[in-house]
Symmetry: C3
Subunit: 246 residues, 3 copies
Amino acid sequence: MRLTLAEPSYLKESISIISELVSEAKFTITKDAIELIAMDPANVAMVVFKLFSSCFTEYDIKEDTSIAINLGNLKQVLRRVTANDMLTLELEKNKLKLEFTGSTKRTFHLPILEIEEKEQKVPELTFPVTITCSPSVFTSAIEDADIVAESVTFVVEKGKFMINASGDLSDAAIEIPASDSVKIETGEEVIKSKYSIEYLKKMVAGSKISNEVSIQFNKDYPLKLSFKEVDKVLLSFILAPRVEND
Amino acid sequence: MRLTLAEPSYLKESISIISELVSEAKFTITKDAIELIAMDPANVAMVVFKLFSSCFTEYDIKEDTSIAINLGNLKQVLRRVTANDMLTLELEKNKLKLEFTGSTKRTFHLPILEIEEKEQKVPELTFPVTITCSPSVFTSAIEDADIVAESVTFVVEKGKFMINASGDLSDAAIEIPASDSVKIETGEEVIKSKYSIEYLKKMVAGSKISNEVSIQFNKDYPLKLSFKEVDKVLLSFILAPRVEND
Amino acid sequence: MRLTLAEPSYLKESISIISELVSEAKFTITKDAIELIAMDPANVAMVVFKLFSSCFTEYDIKEDTSIAINLGNLKQVLRRVTANDMLTLELEKNKLKLEFTGSTKRTFHLPILEIEEKEQKVPELTFPVTITCSPSVFTSAIEDADIVAESVTFVVEKGKFMINASGDLSDAAIEIPASDSVKIETGEEVIKSKYSIEYLKKMVAGSKISNEVSIQFNKDYPLKLSFKEVDKVLLSFILAPRVEND
């Protein structure tokens, strides 16, 4: 296996974000993409990451490969990559070899872990609501809510997306109307669901890799946040709802 | 009551500064201004804040109103306001409602506190010394003094303002002569007084709202620091002196 | 003694770097230079600092003088100097007087310490290897190595400088080939030696005073790092090797 990225930033940013939720994970490398599907340790959130082969200047694999890596370590190494470096990934001596080629050549080896875990599968979910907007609008709303509470209620109603949070004494409400830059697809019904702000704050960091986020949810049902660049990268998160007697 | 600010930064910056000295305080809203007069918990410093009605694009009050608020909470909410937001203050359901109107509409409610405290009054003080200068010159002198000691002696003598600090082993002396940008109004006498650096460091943050500070004091007598923009905002601090046997 | 610097930044930056390794030290002031030679408390590293008299706009000493100072205190005072200040050093009342002259005049006095310590001497060392390069290339390599290990092995071989680090499970290798901007002077033999990354990280901060670093070492022998500006300043570090059974 030998994979070369001329622009390593999608990988760098994505791993940095994912490592806040998951500490060890298995990457599957097929002829189409490098893919990671992982649950956070509390089983509340799932991460799905795909870096497509079309991102790579060299993408040479003999067979599908699966390697488990400590994401904290991988993040630390990827932090050292600069915009001028080419990054090559290889397997060598049962380790993952990362080679940075710029004005100097720098090589890192990271141990491959043995993870005895059942294959994660992305659940099939159907969503009556899809909101597409600039990540900054959504991130700002989550940060607003974070001031007053630990969970947030998403409500969609008649072309408006509302984000409400109530603390012991204070509350916050953010109203995002449909507009040229905010698309809200939904039916007639008012749909409402509650999610953890702590998780959402980690997930909105996905805005580093895309200038659009898609937000999908249903009543007391998981939320799906997706950040993507077509043919390049996909980073999505599925977050369990908090039900009222939480 | 309905008050709207097109430029919320005076309120935002002032509350951020005041909250370092006072955690809860009562605002009095009259037809002229929003006003706050409060002592710090150690009874060493008083804050006087006025945001004049001429700052507001909408200033609608039926009668004088007084509301007590936790300044830490208020600061956190005001931090979320951006330069593009209009800020409207209202009373609703016995709470203070803050509405930010920009590309989205964001609404916060903060609880109104019951403070059983006697009305604070600004003491009548007369000062033989008034120094007016750029806040950066004064702030820098306080930071210099902070390296060597916990208190600082202000001295005015023949057109010179001196700031002296002596620690156990080290000392610092800053000399600010009268100049085009530093006005020193005083009599013949040498006047000297000592103040806490810890408090002064919090007070000089007032430089965020004005590009001039006025410094007034007397021998072993309170200090008054004032930051203002005419017809807009006034933030002043009164600080008790430290007497020699402190 | 009266010494005036129109550009105090060499002194400011150097003391800031040295104070990370040594907390108290003796300066020797001769007609040529201010000089400091000191060992770190663990006796692993030596610092040699020289600020030449040609750096000064006024350099008036009657006789060679030696003064011991707490470098942490000196660093704090020098942090307060700005690019527009002239800095004058004098002895006054058995203290070191530092006077900053800019738009205001600021004076600090620092106590002179009594250090009962034998005179430090720079050991005579001979090096078969000298590498000269941009400090950023070298600093970046040390930071790379820091991710995986606590010590680093320097290897010079046939026109290549290699920096290798091995942790329990991960490793890093940086290859710096000779080039227009990297000069490698050495003989035929492969030369290899191991040093502490913790110390190296403090020493590479010397890059603030020079845009070139010289790296000299030998097999299981001390390392010498030198940062200099001709006729102005010299900051060099000697670091004991870590031998294999460390």
